[in-house]
Point group: C2
Amino acid sequence: MFCLSYLVSCLKRNSMHSFTEENYLKAIYKLEEKTGGRVNNTDLAKALAIHSATVTDMLKKMSERKWILYEKSKGFKLTGKGRKSAVGIIRRHRLWEVFLVSKLEFGWDEVHEIAEQLEHVQSEDLINRLDSFLGYPKADPHGDPIPDENGEFMKSEAVLLSKLKAGSKARFAGITDHSTAFLSYLDKIGLALGDTIKIGSIEEFDQSYILQLKSKKEIIVSSRVTNGILVVINY
Amino acid sequence: MFCLSYLVSCLKRNSMHSFTEENYLKAIYKLEEKTGGRVNNTDLAKALAIHSATVTDMLKKMSERKWILYEKSKGFKLTGKGRKSAVGIIRRHRLWEVFLVSKLEFGWDEVHEIAEQLEHVQSEDLINRLDSFLGYPKADPHGDPIPDENGEFMKSEAVLLSKLKAGSKARFAGITDHSTAFLSYLDKIGLALGDTIKIGSIEEFDQSYILQLKSKKEIIVSSRVTNGILVVINY
DNA sequence: CATAATTTTTAGATATATCTAAAAATTATG
DNA sequence: CATAATTTTTAGATATATCTAAAAATTATG
């Protein structure tokens, strides 16, 4: 019993982490992506919906365990090891989302919460087999890229739909707003990932767009929508 | 924030439970099945590889939360609610095992640990869709029955291979020894679930069996093996 | 049935992850 | 640059799940 728990605690220090640590890693990774640099305590606390004091404590521990580089009051960032781990979590999350949508026929607006749980299941073999079973998908149901076994993944050249001019044509390639409300709304107005979109015209007054869908249908969307959609032009 | 955590704690009390509680429920369920009656502290502690003192504490809590009926020093058993929950966990475990073997091509000796993690993912919708995706399997890769959505499942009429007489014929329907070592050994000697087995003869000296497999091959197995295998006769 | 053996419980710790309230440190602003 | 605003940290709690050591209760045995 002594031996076992000692071993377990050793393993934990070096290569494994609790759900909590995984959630911190993921949140930090996402914040780094968004801000492009160091992350601060307050933003992380907000992202995780917990209190700053808790974050301070946890960051100290994660720093000791070499998941992050932490300088008191100066913000922090992932170490190489921390980044690798975070990318692994994202790989797992996105592969499970593909499974849920393509195999179990969930809607793209229903999978996030379940994937949040599945992503914590520890088994490299499992994830690599899942990847193979799904045909090595390059993106999840929301268009977000899936890292491969080595943590490599494509940076997309997608741009916000709101950047396009009237008359241009593009492919719906991703979203920046991942809320269920937004996803359901897109379902409702008949916009799906992969669709070709032509911009009929742009209303100067409120920057709303008239879009022509491949179904010939025309829809009007607000700037809130055009700022939530990523497209690939030159298609 | 206050509201949310209050809500969460309420939910926890009534219908949800932590991984730990789920593991206790599952272990208690299995012990009840094995012993056919009340379970005691020591057996549960052994099954969970933790100390009795810890079990005493946890049982008090689980009793308050109405998962078990607990009388000090007299053993305990699951309540209706506790049983229902335990059966749900077993359903999830076994469905995931089917997924791992039939879709991801894991060996039947490789899936237990991963299913131990997957079984804790909370989503009824997920499990029912998985059930449908797998074609509503009646048994897991080890022949153990899978409860349906309502917690119903067949009691098997399988008996130990060691109960059969020379000359009888039966179908390999399940196992009582779920250890990886045993499963791998069966793989090695070429015995697989569903196989038809004919008992050539029984060695009186050590109760070892000579089995004739459908492949015409003959193998000799020890009583350790015939006591680990369940068969359905009259086939 | 008295004593020994076993089982269960109590008492007091520990680790993890969280909280609140207040203090300290840092950054922004007139 | 002094003060205000914001951010971070400290200090002291709490809940969960575990431990060890010892006491208490129960069960088995001569």
